[in-house]
């Protein structure tokens, strides 16, 4: 499973292999490695093979070339796929089976991709380590005593371990880029409004966006080209043309200006991470890019802003889980209000409860102005910082995560410290800009390190071009311990 989507498709089209064979081997790897990694909550062998056979049939009997013909894809368990569960890593949804496909799924399937399973994640995408899943932790394929990052840890691990070439995750504050960094793969969070959120279970609606994991840039570009674009089922998708994201990948980056926010390379940043990102910056210089200093004076407030806005929106979005219309309902609660409370008490895990309470608090009478409105004002200042910065550069370089993958249990008792794992990623969600994490080295302990590229609205082509140029110059060839 190390071929790129494009070369694999060529092999299917020329008859060297079949979609069935490709999908079967991916399913087999998912099954074989799941005891070790716990990356999948559901694997659909018969369905995946049946759908792959249909693709083979279609290719034989028509001139379709299907952009993603026979590509096995893993999908985070908070994105609706008809015929699969959507637990969101939560007991409160349990074995909920949505009766419809998310728009991104419909588009993948129409392009010939085959969904092989649903991946484990932090409950309702709340977490940075995957330790908040109600269905057990996901292990990092590089070191199974360590977290894969979160919240889309299962998707990151599935791609890192070579089970699937690409996977979908979701982002609210870094839940694709951070696990991509900790698991040694590429992770893209597109511009807000680039991808449809229809069928993505809502966490914080003004921040949520479907993201993409891959092991090479052309694969990520290919998937983005299929899923992106206006969707009438999601009023927040923007009417902005979808370019061919693969077309500009080999453009010379000579003369591009990369912003380097010196102030963010300070306290709390692991020395190995710092050294790797510095080396990556040097590599860009060698490729002819110009490194310019940028200031993001309000970036240090992003975690504080994030944990007000995200929890406020979550407390509202998660009010729908009440044991009435779908999912889990607690037993022995003979009165309605008691049923609500008991269902939510037994159905939600501690982190989700903590965030619902925080969100309820910051929105409650007397505190709204002090917290929520203030956070939205500082959010505006963060966006303005970035707008200013992008007048002087084409993209900004930072670490993705302050540290490589940490040990299980290391941060579970200190939520605030866990939240700081997202210090470099949340700004993109707050401002709505795209961000991408690309592997740029290994720590002294052999753990992957990610570099983050941030760009202005709709700059996905630039970010993909920069990432591809970097990986061509400095290929990331290391393999995790656990690999298909």
């Amino acid at each position: 499973m190390t071929r790129s989507i494009a070369s694999q498709k060529d092999q299917i089209l020329t008859g060297d292999t079949t979609a069935r064979a490709v999908v079967e081997s991916s399913v087999a790897a998912a099954e074989r490695l799941n005891d070790t990694l716990n990356a999948f909550l559901e694997i659909d062998r018969p369905g995946a093979i049946r759908r792959a056979e249909e693709i083979d049939q279609r290719l034989k009997t028509s001139d379709d070339t299907l952009a993603l013909a026979g590509v096995p894809i893993a999908v985070k368990d908070n994105i609706c796929v008809r015929g699969f569960q959507a637990s969101c890593g939560s007991k409160i949804l349990g074995d909920y089976h949505p009766p419809y496909d998310a728009t991104v799924i419909e588009r993948l399937v129409n392009a010939g991709a085959v969904i092989i399973g649903k991946t484990n994640c932090d409950e309702f995408a709340m977490g940075s380590s995957n330790e908040n899943s109600a269905f057990g932790v996901v292990k990092n394929p590089w070191d199974t005593t360590r977290v894969p990052g979160g919240s889309s840890g299962g998707s990151a691990a599935a791609v890192a371990a070579g089970i699937v070439p690409v996977a979908l995750g979701s982002e609210t504050g870094g839940s694709v880029r951070q696990p991509a960094s900790l698991s040694g793969v590429i992770g893209l969070k597109p511009t807000y409004g680039r991808n449809s959120r229809y069928g993505l279970v809502a966490f914080a609606s003004s921040l949520d966006q479907v993201g993409i994991f891959g092991r090479n840039v052309p694969d990520v570009a290919a998937v983005l080209g299929v899923v992106a674009g206006r969707d009438r089922h999601d009023a927040t998708t923007a009417d902005v043309p979808v370019p061919d994201y693969r077309a500009g990948l080999d453009t010379d980056i000579k003369g591009m200006r990369l912003g380097f926010p010196q102030a963010l390379f300070g306290e709390g940043l692991d020395a190995d991470v710092r050294a790797s990102v510095d080396a990556a910056t040097d590599a860009y210089r060698e490729l002819g890019a110009e490194i310019v200093d940028v200031e993001l004076p309000h970036a240090k407030y992003s975690i504080a802003v994030y944990y007000i806005i995200a929890t406020a929106e979550a407390s509202s979005n998660l009010a729908r889980y009440d044991g009435v219309r779908y999912g889990f309902r607690a037993e022995d609660a003979p009165e309605l209000r008691q049923m609500y409370k008991k269902t939510r008490d037994e159905g939600f895990g501690p982190e989700v409860k903590r965030r619902i309470m925080l969100g309820t608090y910051v929105l409650s009478a007397g505190y709204y102005e002090a917290y929520y409105r203030k956070a939205q004002q500082v959010r505006a200042l963060i966006r303005e910082d970035l707008r200013q910065a992008f007048t002087a550069c084409d993209a900004i370089v930072t670490p993705t995560s302050p540290t490589p993958a940490f040990l299980f249990g290391e941060k579970v008792n200190n939520p605030l410290e866990m939240y700081l794992s997202d210090i470099y990623t949340v700004t993109a969600n707050l401002a709505g800009i795209p961000g991408l994490s690309v592997p740029c080295g290994l720590s002294s302990e052999g753990l992957p390190i990610g570099m983050q590229l941030l760009g202005p609205y709709w700059s996905e082509p630039t970010l993909l071009n920069l990432a591809h140029a970097y990986l061509k110059a400095r290929p990331f060839t290391a393999r995790p311990q656990v690999f298909a």
């Binding site: 927040t236 409370k341 309470m357 500082v378 939240y419 609205y457």
Partner: protein, 98 residues
């Protein structure tokens, strides 16, 4: 403003959450820590700063999301009820409301 166990109990009520004594002992200091942390925003001067509502880009703001007000096919009652913990005679059934 320091947040107390009584505050947490009140919030839990508002959020329809049942919190045990033990959870309260764990959550209260953690939430207090987080609130103290977010209060660093008070040092930012936001006079005359328009709050950023929602996450839309300028292009997203300009996108017209309205459509003609015409009924379109939807899931239908049968499918919509299929995942309900307790559905009967075309309705969601809930415990008595008192």
């Amino acid at each position: 403003m320091p947040i107390t166990e009584a505050d947490i109990e009140k919030i839990a009520q508002l959020a329809h959450l049942e919190i045990t004594r033990e959870e309260l002992r764990v959550f209260a200091p953690q939430i207090a820590d987080i609130i103290t942390y977010v209060e660093q925003l008070n040092e930012v001067d936001t006079t005359n700063v328009e709050p950023m509502l929602g996450g839309l880009t300028p292009e997203g703001e300009l996108t017209d999301s309205a459509r003609d007000d015409i009924v379109e096919p939807s899931l239908g009652q049968k499918i919509a009820l299929e995942e309900a913990p307790d559905a009967v005679a075309g309705h969601f059934r809930v415990p008595k409301v008192l």
